[in-house]
Symmetry: C2
Subunit: 440 residues, 2 copies
Amino acid sequence: MRIAVIGGGAAGIGAAGAAKGVDPDADVVVYTADTDVAYSPCGIPYVHGKEIDSFDRLFLATKEQYVATGIDVRYETTVDAIDPRSRTLAVAGEGEASYDRLVIASGWNYAAVDVPGADLDGIYEVKYIREAMEWDKRLDSCQSAVVVDAGLVAMEMVAALCHRGIKCIVVDPAPWPMADVLDPDIVEPVRQAWEDAGVDMQWGNRVTAFRGDGSVSRVETQQGDIESDIVIVGTHKVPNNPLAAAAGLELGSTGGLTVDSRMQTSDPNIYAAGDCTEIPHGVSDIPIQGLTGSHAYAQGKTAGTNAAGGTRHYRPVFVPWGLLAGEWMIGGVSFGETLATALGIQHVVGKAQGITRARYYPGVRPITVKLLAEPGSLRLIGAQMIGGEGIKERADFLAMAVRVGLTVEELATMENVYSPAIGALNEPISVAAQNLLAGL
Amino acid sequence: MRIAVIGGGAAGIGAAGAAKGVDPDADVVVYTADTDVAYSPCGIPYVHGKEIDSFDRLFLATKEQYVATGIDVRYETTVDAIDPRSRTLAVAGEGEASYDRLVIASGWNYAAVDVPGADLDGIYEVKYIREAMEWDKRLDSCQSAVVVDAGLVAMEMVAALCHRGIKCIVVDPAPWPMADVLDPDIVEPVRQAWEDAGVDMQWGNRVTAFRGDGSVSRVETQQGDIESDIVIVGTHKVPNNPLAAAAGLELGSTGGLTVDSRMQTSDPNIYAAGDCTEIPHGVSDIPIQGLTGSHAYAQGKTAGTNAAGGTRHYRPVFVPWGLLAGEWMIGGVSFGETLATALGIQHVVGKAQGITRARYYPGVRPITVKLLAEPGSLRLIGAQMIGGEGIKERADFLAMAVRVGLTVEELATMENVYSPAIGALNEPISVAAQNLLAGL
């Protein structure tokens, strides 16, 4: 049994490990265009921001450790084509390679900034660790940076650039950061923190060209020109599927590979996992893509298990997410008011501001929770949060609450830990639910 | 309508506020033997430990603010008797006071250390803020302290005493700290931290007498004498119900007042809330007492609402709890292996050690989660945790999971936030559930 994996990110490595776990005798080969596997790209912005002292810390395992697991990783190796009929790959520099089962984990790219000058040097897509190491040196002598679109990576990179004293200019056609998933009232403290840090926020503005002599030095926008040493691309993720498309595999409305619950594509010998796929949203049933490393890893394990002859299913997603943006943690589950409204999903809302520890305990931080419920049934369908701590754990809880259909009444009567150093008398999730009920 | 409340803790104040909310015209009178209401007794150990710089921080509101709410609080006022037939109270110094509805929120006491010398000076029961202010001065000149029983307050006080450089000797007949609710593997890091801090832990030992000339100076135990400047009582809570017992109200097996879901006692005009009551455990149906301030407050709101003519129900409890013990947070839900075994409750167990952030992110801490499930159905019935952060939020989640009957399969496939600064790739709750399934 020969199992080929295209991609060495969380999905690809998860798939390779799971396949080897199910069938230790299988030949498992991972092709990656990257120089490394088993590092955490999600940590890159925090090294730039000097919260983490070295890129070396982001590596999870050495290449030798991978060899020891019996997984054959081909670094800096590009797959040029998939032939599903002959079950072969065209591998650059190696020629034809056959497979019995294939897992595509080809990941994502930043949505292109489709303007003149997009090929100039000095435009940084935060993604690969070796490139990040080079960019980090360059940031030392950088005075100013334009961040194009305030998506997820921008939330982290603006904080990082501010830490380093680099003047930030955010240019985004949307009206506030991460406008596709975050409600404006929730993200307001982050916007305020950026303003306090001197970030020049140009909402409702759009880049029209990058200019410079070899390297970018000026960003032209609809509202005027901006001198800038570098550009950070913060656009949303798009599935990286030219190979799959050329092979005739079915892609969905998002450009992601369509898969069943076993992560099997339209070809029974080919599985897919991670950001190159699309997955149904558990509430709206709409296919979505661009999830997290945790999702990619779980999908990879599912794909790899099934590719090797085992059985594992992946469920629709409710998407708990969160991140640190400067001093604030923000996060959510499923959708907020903005997205629910855009999707035409009826909802009622309850909101509460609380605190994370006893009011008098050192380190206490504010936390705001907003809950969305289905009218009538009052089942939870989404949440948005901002606070100083405890966002990840609450998002995990609320994602499960949405999945199993908990109602606002149930959340309103939840028990909560009260102990001065770790939790306040009133849990803001419960108070938001009580407020929702009171407002009906 | 005249509503009397006996007790000015979280339950009594919650009841008074809720009653006034339902019926603003009601006369609401709170009798408290204490000098103050509206402070957080739970914060006292952390002021002793100097994490909080002043006892003044623990006050939530001034006496004037209470007057403004229309609640008549009688401080340092003892109720000597309840006559349910005439609906009157015998109030020390005031004579007879009538009521239409009564809420008993008379709280708890430390279980008596029933040995000779228990009335000596120098034996500290951590409970009242004015007393704590005096004790805090005394701790400045204190060299050593014997902690009798390593219950909840001991978990916090040992850390506080260590912070202040006071030699601690723990004498407890149990084999480890909080042995009634915590499993030994879970509490081990705390025990180790105490050992590292030089705490003299005498498990399986029992105090036989306190000796001294007016003030305690020596503690006699089954295993020998200990010289000590003060004694901290860390015994478990017992309901404070001599008044209710004398009035003929029904008490349960724990000594707590039996109440229905409206917090009504055996007398239809009398409600009760907080540590003087007992509440059915949601899994075992066994009545339990000695819950948290959050429980007391919610019960008080229920009792006060119903006393004033409203309708509010309180549910069986699943008891999420947690606290900070030095550098560790410990907590749980429902029961652990030790208590489940003692109660004869069949269970299967899964455990995982994880981390709270990405391995490379500053402030990352270990976290251990142990889950107990019912054999067969695999419904979650309890949890135990120790870690550096995120214990409170996980306990809240798992308490709801037990309440609504989530299974280990559901937890094994939960989604989780992954973002380096706030959450690791793998959520330990999920891994513990996966490990439980793998071990079946």
